[in-house]
C-alpha cells in the first residue's frame, strides 16, 4: 500500500547515498591533504609545481576559521582527514601542542628563518609567515575630526576619542584576541593601571565590539560607511587598501598606528598531523613552503610577510610598515593565560 512513487524515490536516494560513500575510498598514497583556515590563499601554479615535481595531488581543505579548523583537527586525532595543518599561530599553539596532534619535523630551510619568527622551538610546527595586528585609521575621517593618530594607547580613553574605535571580540576573532594580548603586554596584568582598567575605561568611552574582522571593518569603519575612524586590523591592511583601491590612488586611504608594545606579532605555521597517510609527501611540502617560490607567492594573496628573509615582497608592501617593537609575549605565556584573559575581558567589556 506504500505509495509506489515514494518507495521508488526512497530506494533511489539510498542508492545514491551508498554509491557516493563507496566511491571516495580509492588508495591515496600520492594525495596530500592540507587542512587550513578559510583565509589561507596560495597560487594555483605554485601548488601545480609541487604536484608535478612530486607526482602527487594536493587537496587544500579549508575548515572554517582557525579555531574551528583546530577543533576539527583535535576531534579527528588519530584518524586525521588531512596530512598537514596550516595556520596554527602563536595564540593557538599551546592548545595544539597540549593536544599532541602534531609529529615533529625539522625542515631544510629552517636555519634560514630569523629567530624572532621561530614559532615552536619543539619543531612540531614550522613557521611559514607572519603579520602584525594593530590599529588602522581612516586618514580622511581623522583629518575631518581634527585628530592626529594617537601616540599612546592611554590617549584612546580621552573624551576626544569617545566612540571612535571598533574592536573585534577576542572570544570569537583572531585579530580581536591578538589586540587583547597586545594590551596585556602594554599595560601589564598588575600595577596601578592594568589592561583591564584600560578596557574598563574604553567601555566607558563607548568602544564598539564586533565578533569578526569583516563585521568590524566593513560594518563600522568610516572607510566603509560606519562611524568609527579607528579599527583593529593588520599592518598590511593599508597596503591592501592601496592595491585594491577603486579608483586607483597614489597612497593608501588608511594608515597604521604602530605604538610600541601595542602591536601583536602573529606567526603562522604548518605541522604534520599524527597518523597522516602521506607523511613523506607532507615533509616535502614543508620544505617547499619555506622555499622562495612559495614564500614570494602568498604575500599579495594573504597579506602576510614571508619568514624566509631571501623572499622578496611586492612593491606595495612599502605601505605595510613593520612595527619596531611588537608586544613581547611568548606562545607559552599566551597558551597558559589566553582563556583567563578572554574571560576577564568578557566580564569587563561585555557583561
Amino acid at each position: 500500500m506504500i505509495s509506489k512513487l515514494t518507495a521508488v524515490v526512497m530506494v533511489l536516494l539510498m542508492v545514491t547515498v551508498l554509491a557516493a560513500c563507496s566511491s571516495d575510498s580509492e588508495d591515496e598514497n600520492r594525495e596530500l591533504v592540507i587542512m587550513t583556515h578559510d583565509s589561507f590563499n596560495i597560487g594555483e601554479d605554485v601548488i601545480k609545481a609541487f604536484e608535478d615535481a612530486n607526482n602527487a595531488t594536493v587537496v587544500i581543505q579549508p575548515a572554517g576559521d582557525t579555531g574551528e579548523a583546530l577543533v576539527r583537527a583535535i576531534l579527528e586525532k588519530g584518524n586525521p582527514s588531512a596530512d598537514l595543518f596550516y595556520g596554527i599561530d602563536n595564540t593557538y599553539l599551546g592548545r595544539a601542542l597540549d593536544e599532541g596532534i602534531f609529529d615533529t619535523y625539522e625542515p631544510d630551510g629552517l636555519d634560514n628563518v630569523p629567530i624572532q619568527f621561530i614559532l615552536d622551538s619543539t619543531n612540531h610546527v614550522t613557521s611559514i609567515d607572519y603579520g602584525y595586528v594593530n590599529l588602522n585609521y581612516d586618514k580622511a575621517a581623522l583629518a575631518e575630526a581634527g585628530l592626529e593618530p594617537p601616540q599612546l594607547l592611554e590617549q584612546l580613553t580621552g573624551s576626544n576619542w569617545k566612540g571612535k574605535l571598533v574592536v573585534e571580540n577576542p572570544a570569537t576573532s583572531s585579530p580581536g584576541l591578538a589586540f587583547l594580548i597586545a594590551t596585556v603586554a602594554y599595560f601589564g596584568e598588575e600595577g596601578l593601571y592594568t589592561y583591564l582598567d584600560f578596557w574598563k575605561d574604553m567601555k566607558a568611552n563607548d568602544v564598539l565590539v564586533k565578533d569578526g574582522w569583516s563585521d568590524a571593518y566593513y560594518g563600522d569603519f568610516t572607510m566603509y560607511g560606519g562611524d568609527r575612524p579607528l579599527v583593529v586590523s593588520y599592518a598590511t591592511s593599508p597596503a591592501a587598501e592601496f592595491l585594491f583601491a577603486d579608483p586607483a590612488v597614489s597612497e593608501p586611504p588608511t594608515g597604521n598606528i604602530l605604538i610600541d608594545k601595542a602591536t601583536f606579532l602573529q606567526i603562522e605555521g604548518i605541522g604534520i598531523l599524527k597518523g597522516a597517510d602521506s607523511p613523506n609527501l607532507a615533509r616535502k611540502f614543508i620544505d617547499f613552503a619555506l622555499e622562495r617560490r612559495f614564500q614570494e607567492d602568498f604575500p599579495d594573496k594573504m597579506f602576510v610577510y614571508p619568514v624566509n628573509p631571501d623572499a622578496e615582497t611586492p612593491d606595495f608592501f612599502q605601505f605595510a610598515e613593520v612595527p619596531a617593537q611588537p608586544a613581547g609575549l611568548t606562545a607559552e605565556e599566551i597558551g597558559e593565560k589566553r582563556e583567563e584573559w578572554i574571560e576577564a575581558w568578557t566580564e569587563v567589556v561585555l557583561r
Binding site: 506504500i2 583565509s39 594555483e44 576531534l75 565578533d211 560607511g225 560606519g226
Partner: protein
C-alpha cells in the same frame, strides 16, 4: 491504510542516521570526561525493553488495533524514538551535572538564554506583523509583475548576513542615505539617527530576513480559503475589520502559527545577523556555543549549552505544535481562481499600491547593494562583474562564477528533492488521523532547526569519517546538512493544507476504485501543489543561502556562491567589496530566477489549482 503509515520509518531513519547519530557522536566526545558508562549489557537491555513496553502500552491504549496498526501509532513510535535519542545522543551514560550547574549558575549564560528567548519572541511578532499585509496582497490580488515581485520579496531570506548588513548601513548607517539627506536638509553636523548597533536594527533585520516565510505560507493558505464565510459575514452586516478579526483571522491561524514557528526558530538560533548589525553585546546562545567550542575549547560546556538550547527549542516546539493541532479547523479549500477578487474599487487599488510600495521599500537595502556593485572608478560600470571572471591573482581557491553558480544550484536542487520526499511523508503522517502523541514526533522532526550549527557541523565531521559512511570528501555531506534545515519548511507549509483538506474527496476516489497512487496524483497533489511549492521554494532557498556549514565542511571544488562572497569579504580593499557585491547581485538574480522557475512548475505540470 495502516501499512502506508509505516512509511514514516523512512524519515525516522533519515533523522536517526543524519541527525541523531552525528549529534550523539559529538556529545559523546564533548562529555568524554564527565560521563559514566553503564556498559553494553545495560544498553542492550534498555534498547530491547523500551519498544516492548511501548508496544504493550500502545496496545492497551487502543486494543482494537492490529499489531501493525499499533506499531504505527505515535504511542509506540514516540518512546522508541526517544530511546533511540538517548542511546545515540548520550549512549546511556550518566552525564555529570557539573557543566550544567556551571552554566546555569553563571549570570552571563543566563543572560544569553533570556536574551535569546525574548529577542526571538519580539522578532517573530514583528515578522508576522509585516508579513500579513503582504500575504494578503499575494493571496487576494492579481496584478502585472506579481510573480516577479513575489520572487524578489523572498530574496532577503538567502542573503549572506554581512552583505545585508552592508545594505542596511548604506541606507541607515551613520553615513547612509537617510542620515546624509537629513543632514543636508537640516544643516546638521552629526548624523541625527543612530540605528546601527542597537536592538531595533536586530528586530528589523530578523523581520527583513524572515517575513517572506510568513508571506509565502499564509498567502498560499489564504488563496485557497473559500470566501463564502467572509461573504456571509459581510452580508450579515459585519464591517471589514470585524470580518477579518472574527472570521478570516481564526481561519488563517494554522498557517500563521506554522510560519511563526519557523520565523521563531530562525530568530532563536540567529548567529550572523545579531552580530554583524548589533555587535557582540547582543550574543545569542548560538554565539555563546560557538565561543565555547572554537575559541575556548570547552567542549563539555559547549555540549551542555547546546543541550540547554535544544531543550528550550523542543519545549517551544511542543507548545507550538500542540497549539497548531488545536487551531486546525477543517476548512473548505477551493481553487485559487474562485477566491481572487474580481472587482476593484479606488480605495482598494490605493491600498494595494501602498502595500507594493511597502514591499519595495522593505527591499531597499538590496537595491543599495546593486548600486554599489555597479559603481567603480568614480562612475558606473560592470568592472566588478567582469573581474569576477578572471583569476587575477592566480589563486588556487579561485572558481569562476559559472562553477560557483552551478555548485549552488545543483546542491540546492538536491536539497529540495530530498526535503520534499522526507517532508511530505512526515506531513502526511502527522496530519491524520490525529492523535495526541503526534505533537511529540512533530517537534522532534523540527528539532534540527534548534540545534547549534557549530556543534552539528563537528558532529557530522566525526560521525561520517569512516567507511561505509565516509562523507568528508563528498558534496553529499553538505546537501544532507542543508536538508536538515530545509525539510521542516516542507512539513510546516504542507500541514495546514493537509489538515484542512476535505477527506471526502479521497474517500470518494477510493470508493470509485482509484488506487492510492492515482488518488495522490489526481486528488491530493492538485490541492497541495501550492503548499508543496512553498516548501520547495524554501528548501531551495535554505541551501542557496547557507554558508556556515559550507565553510566547515566543503572542499574548494564545491565552492558555492555564498562562500565565494565570504572569501572576497575576508580581505580589505574597495575592489574586494565591489566584487563581493557583484557576486551578491548575481546570487540575488539567480535565486529570484529559481523562485520564478519553481512557481512556473505548477502551471506547466500540474494544471494549476
Amino acid at each position: 491504510m495502516t501499512a502506508r503509515r509505516l512509511i514514516i520509518v523512512g524519515p525516522l531513519a533519515y533523522l536517526a542516521i543524519f541527525f541523531l547519530y552525528p549529534l550523539g557522536a559529538i556529545f559523546e566526545r564533548s562529555f568524554e570526561g564527565s560521563r559514566t558508562d553503564l556498559g553494553p549489557v545495560t544498553e542492550v537491555l534498555v534498547a530491547a525493553a523500551v519498544p516492548l513496553i511501548a508496544y504493550l502500552f500502545a496496545h492497551r491504549k487502543s486494543p482494537e488495533k492490529t499489531p501493525i496498526q499499533t506499531l504505527s501509532t505515535a504511542w509506540f513510535l514516540a518512546p522508541v524514538v526517544a530511546t533511540a535519542i538517548v542511546l545515540l545522543v548520550l549512549r546511556i551514560g550518566v552525564i555529570s551535572v557539573d557543566p550544567f550547574n556551571k552554566l546555569l549558575g553563571d549570570s552571563y549564560y543566563l543572560g544569553r538564554i533570556w536574551f535569546t528567548i525574548w529577542q526571538a519572541t519580539v522578532s517573530t511578532m514583528l515578522t508576522v506583523a509585516i508579513g500579513l499585509p503582504v500575504a494578503y496582497l499575494f493571496a487576494k490580488h492579481d496584478f502585472p509583475g506579481k510573480s516577479v515581485l513575489k520572487a524578489v520579496s523572498t530574496v532577503p531570506f538567502i542573503m549572506p548576513t554581512i552583505v545585508v548588513a552592508m545594505g542596511f548601513i548604506a541606507l541607515l548607517g551613520p553615513q547612509g542615505l537617510v542620515n546624509s539627506a537629513l543632514m543636508d536638509v537640516f544643516g546638521l553636523d552629526t548624523p541625527p539617527t543612530r540605528i546601527t548597533n542597537t536592538l531595533l536594527i536586530i528586530f528589523l533585520a530578523h523581520a527583513f530576513y524572515n517575513y517572506s516565510i510568513v508571506v509565502r505560507i499564509v498567502s498560499t493558505f489564504w488563496a485557497n480559503l473559500n470566501p463564502r464565510l467572509e461573504e456571509s459575514a459581510a452580508m450579515l452586516g459585519a464591517g471589514r475589520f470585524n470580518t477579518f478579526r472574527y472570521v478570516t483571522l481564526p481561519l488563517l491561524l494554522p498557517a500563521i502559527v506554522s510560519s511563526a514557528v519557523l520565523a521563531f526558530a530562525f530568530a532563536f538560533t540567529s548567529f550572523g545577523v545579531v552580530l554583524v548589525l548589533g555587535g557582540s553585546q547582543f550574543a545569542t546562545l548560538e554565539v555563546a556555543t560557538y565561543e565555547l567550542t572554537a575559541k575556548l575549547f570547552r567542549l563539555e560546556l559547549a555540549g551542555a549549552l547546546a543541550i540547554i538550547q535544544m531543550v528550550f527549542t523542543y519545549a517551544f516546539l511542543l507548545i507550538y505544535t500542540r497549539f497548531q493541532a488545536g487551531a486546525a479547523v477543517r476548512v473548505d479549500l477551493v481553487p485559487h481562481e474562485v477566491t481572487s477578487k474580481g472587482r476593484r474599487s479606488a480605495s482598494r487599488t490605493l491600498f494595494l499600491i501602498a502595500i507594493i510600495m511597502g514591499v519595495l521599500a522593505m527591499l531597499s537595502p538590496l537595491w543599495a547593494l546593486f548600486e554599489r556593485a555597479l559603481s567603480s572608478g568614480g562612475g558606473y560600470s560592470f568592472t566588478h562583474f567582469t573581474s569576477l571572471f578572471s583569476n587575477e591573482s592566480g589563486s588556487y581557491f579561485y572558481r569562476s562564477p559559472i562553477t560557483t553558480i552551478w555548485n549552488s544550484v545543483r546542491f540546492a536542487t538536491a536539497t529540495m528533492v530530498i526535503s520534499l520526499v522526507v517532508g511530505t511523508i512526515v506531513a502526511y503522517f502527522l496530519a491524520r488521523p490525529r492523535h495526541r502523541g503526534a505533537g511529540v514526533l512533530d517537534a522532534l522532526f523540527m528539532l534540527p532547526l534548534g540545534v547549534s550549527a557549530v556543534i552539528m557541523g563537528f558532529g557530522f565531521l566525526i560521525a561520517f569519517n569512516k567507511d561505509p559512511l565516509d562523507l568528508r570528501a563528498s558534496w553529499l555531506i553538505l546537501v544532507i546538512a542543508h536538508t536538515l534545515i530545509a525539510y521542516p519548511f516542507v512539513i510546516r507549509s504542507l500541514l495546514p493544507a493537509l489538515r484542512g483538506m476535505p477527506v471526502q474527496l479521497q474517500e470518494a476516489a477510493a470508493v470509485l476504485g482509484a488506487s492510492p497512487v492515482k488518488t495522490f496524483f489526481h486528488i491530493d497533489l492538485p490541492i497541495l501543489s501550492r503548499a508543496l511549492l512553498v516548501g520547495a521554494t524554501f528548501a531551495f532557498a535554505v541551501s542557496m543561502g547557507e554558508f556556515g556549514a559550507s565553510l566547515l565542511l566543503v572542499r574548494p571544488e564545491f565552492t558555492t556562491m555564498p562562500i565565494a562572497i565570504f572569501r572576497l569579504l575576508s580581505q580589505p580593499g574597495a575592489a574586494n567589496i565591489g566584487q563581493a557585491l557583484a557576486m551578491s547581485s548575481i546570487l540575488m538574480v539567480i535565486v529570484a530566477m529559481g523562485f520564478v522557475g519553481i512557481e512556473r512548475f505548477r502551471y506547466k505540470d500540474m494544471g494549476g489549482f
